[in-house]
């Protein structure tokens, strides 16, 4: 335990680095004079301020702090940043309302933002600054059922508000009551969206059963519908509707048997993915002329071993690869597929968790990148081979070692110097490396890596107050 420091040391280290991303990472664990210093650093350069306001990784507390800025472009970027917290959005709305945004329209973005508080959305509706803003709210899942109902009440007053029906129909917060209103006055597209909605009431599903519109039928077939309705839909001319029947968990064996003869390979592909297929159906689909049907059978977890064995000789290499990837594939088949003349198939064997060490040792002698990447990823690969692969000139192979949960500290250590910044970034969270090892990442030439490292130490500081 050589490294043992306090939050202040980490914050001081970030301050002395002069790097705005380092300071952003530790802002959450700073206080008092140090926090003020960090704020001054962030606000000193407009370029950095603008970048932090739109950066996807900027911590929430920093975005909150940035909402103090009076720069209209910083404000705009904050309104567009999906991570900006509710409190900051409220502050920005108030500033915009007072005219501080200097003509830059923030309200539409605040109305769209998923973190905007429902109360604020209600205020925006009442201020009513125009159709686009109200429409943004109708699409926002943060708007509750009550607000959406209010927007729907605009529609009978003016034709232009009819667009709300379509957006509310797709809004996950729409209530059953709202969906009923929309369905009754909607066109086929709107009705289809209502039927697809998770909150669609049973009453509307019953109504849709007699609907002849194909868009409605396509959505209806994915819902829990009565068996007689499914039987009718299985006869439908539209392939997508029949695909829906083939995928529906409630579809009975009698209908599955019927769909086996379907002329569309798309329907048969859906059947091949089912987890309730009977052995006779699987044996029939394994001989399908469409290679994707056979591929889905080869991937299916319920496929019997004797079928997997037949498919391991399939003419299509993607089918053989699917056999090798199947979690039920026995070692004896993996041994055979490890000698396949197609590298893509051997690669699947290398990635397969059931592949024994001796098979991986053999595959490690290959030069193919896909095969070696699989060996590097596999938890059964011996540490000595992982150490060799960690030094590979191919970044995909080295990444395999980084992703391998069994790669030990000594194996991973050389990868802290990997030329590809993303690899170094991935090591920041690796539990096999300790804080001592990760300290060097705080000095990394890439700002993304430095930020991740400082964030990791700051997170550690929040949870334990010491680095161990």
């Amino acid at each position: 335990m050589r490294v043992k420091k306090t939050a202040y040391t980490l914050v001081d280290k970030a301050i002395s680095s002069g790097d705005v991303y380092n300071t952003a990472a530790v802002y959450g664990i700073s206080d008092g004079r140090r926090r003020k210093l960090l704020e001054n650093m962030v606000f000193s350069k407009r370029r950095e301020l603008l970048r932090l306001a739109s950066w996807a990784h900027t911590p929430t507390e920093v975005l909150q702090m940035l909402s103090d800025s009076d720069d209209s472009f910083v404000m705009l970027r904050l309104c567009k940043n999906p991570k900006t917290p509710s409190e900051a959005l409220t502050k920005l709305y108030v500033k915009s309302f007072k005219g501080s945004s200097k003509g830059v329209n923030l309200t539409t973005h605040i109305a769209k933002h998923q973190h905007t508080l429902t109360n604020l959305l209600a205020i925006i509706i009442h201020v009513n600054e125009g159709l686009e803003i109200l429409r943004a709210i109708s699409q926002n899942p943060s708007a509750n059922g009550q607000l959406l109902m209010e927007l729907l009440s605009y529609s009978p007053q003016d034709e232009k508000y009819k667009v709300f029906d379509k957006s509310v129909a797709s809004n996950p917060s729409a209530s059953a009551e709202a969906l009923k209103v929309i369905y009754d006055r909607g066109d086929a597209y709107t009705q289809a969206a209502v039927i697809a909605h998770a909150n669609c009431p049973v009453l509307l599903l019953s109504l849709a059963e007699s609907d002849s519109d194909v868009f409605v039928q396509r959505k209806l077939v994915c819902k829990c519908v009565k068996l007689d309705v499914l039987a009718n839909l299985a006869e439908n001319k539209d392939t997508a509707v029949r695909c829906g029947v083939a995928s529906n968990e409630l579809t009975p064996q009698s209908l599955i048997k019927k769909l086996m003869d379907d002329s569309s390979f798309e329907v048969r592909r859906r059947l091949a993915k089912r987890c309730d297929l009977q052995v006779a159906d699987i044996e029939r689909l394994m001989n399908d002329e469409d290679s994707w049907v056979r591929l889905w059978i080869a991937r299916n977890k319920i496929t019997p071993l004797r079928v997997l064995k037949v498919l391991s000789y399939d003419t299509c290499h993607e089918v053989r690869r699917a056999v090798a990837s199947n979690p039920r594939c026995p070692v004896v088949l993996l041994e055979a597929l490890a000698k396949d003349n197609n590298a893509w198939v051997r690669s699947a064997v290398a990635y397969q968790n059931k592949s024994p060490m001796r098979l991986l040792v053999d595959l490690a002698k290959e030069s193919n990148i896909d095969v070696l990447s699989g060996v590097a990823n596999n938890r059964h690969t011996p540490q000595s081979i992982l150490q060799e692969l960690a030094l590979s000139s191919e970044s995909d192979i080295r990444r395999g070692v980084i992703l391998n949960r069994n790669a030990r500290r000594t194996t991973l250590m050389p990868l802290l110097e990997d030329p590809y910044y993303l690899h170094r970034l991935m090591l920041v969270d690796n539990p096999m490396l300790n804080a001592d090892d990760k300290l060097q990442l705080c000095e990394d030439p890439d700002f993304n890596v430095r930020f991740a490292a400082y964030s990791w130490f700051a997170g550690l500081e929040k949870s334990t107050k010491t680095w161990v």
């Binding site: 472009f73 970027r77 667009v163 379509k166 597209y189 110097e417 030329p419």
Partner: protein, 264 residues
Amino acid sequence: MKILVAVKQVASLDEDFEMRVDKKDVEEDFLLYDLNEWDDFSLEEAMKIKESSDTEIEVVVVSVGPVRVDESLRKCLAKGADRAIRVWDETIEGSDSIVIGRILAAVAKKEVPDMVFAGVQSSDQAYSSTGISTAAYLDWPHAAVVADLQYKPGSSSAVIRRELEGGMLQEVEINCPAVLTIQLGINKPRYASLRGIKQAAAKPIEEISLADIGLSPADVGAGSSMSRVRRMYIPAKSRAQMIEGTIVEQVAKLIQIINEFKGA
């Protein structure tokens, strides 16, 4: 033997931006700077020649620009370039790509390289003329959009393949020394090693003035350029139309539009 690689630090835009007061460019705070993508490939091509050669080859990178350009030059040093040169003088501001070619040619006359590589184009301005104008000022042969290069250091000629329209390649034998503009995909550019980055941080960047290369302020800048930027602006939106409706409706309308275009 020496290869001179001309590189540029290019600017990219980050979503919303403000125009400069003179309306001739974007306000600098909104620009993100990085090494031009094409230049990564031309540097790698030079490095490949250096690393596969029995004779000693010096790879020198050169750029025209203010101090911020040092960051891009260091990136090249980290990848293995032996030296880096930056040419700057306030009077260079406003120069067009032809004048930049004149400056690069002046550097080449001073450095006396056996080959000059440049990117086909820069991602921000896309004139595709800097490399070619450099060749013109040097009075050297040139080849543009080079997708493959076979060159033995010291040879009096090289064989190149140029990328043409329709997937065609044109094989050309070119006399050396020559200026080649290198196309993306000619090789797989390396990442700089951490060791390389640390070493590059300690290496000097040679800052040279116009006088050092025999030019005067009268030879550069907007006044000496054959073209000048009058204004930069976003044109008013015209024919674009958002497809409205539910997702199913949008898809149906999209299919209808495609069918109409196909005449179906």
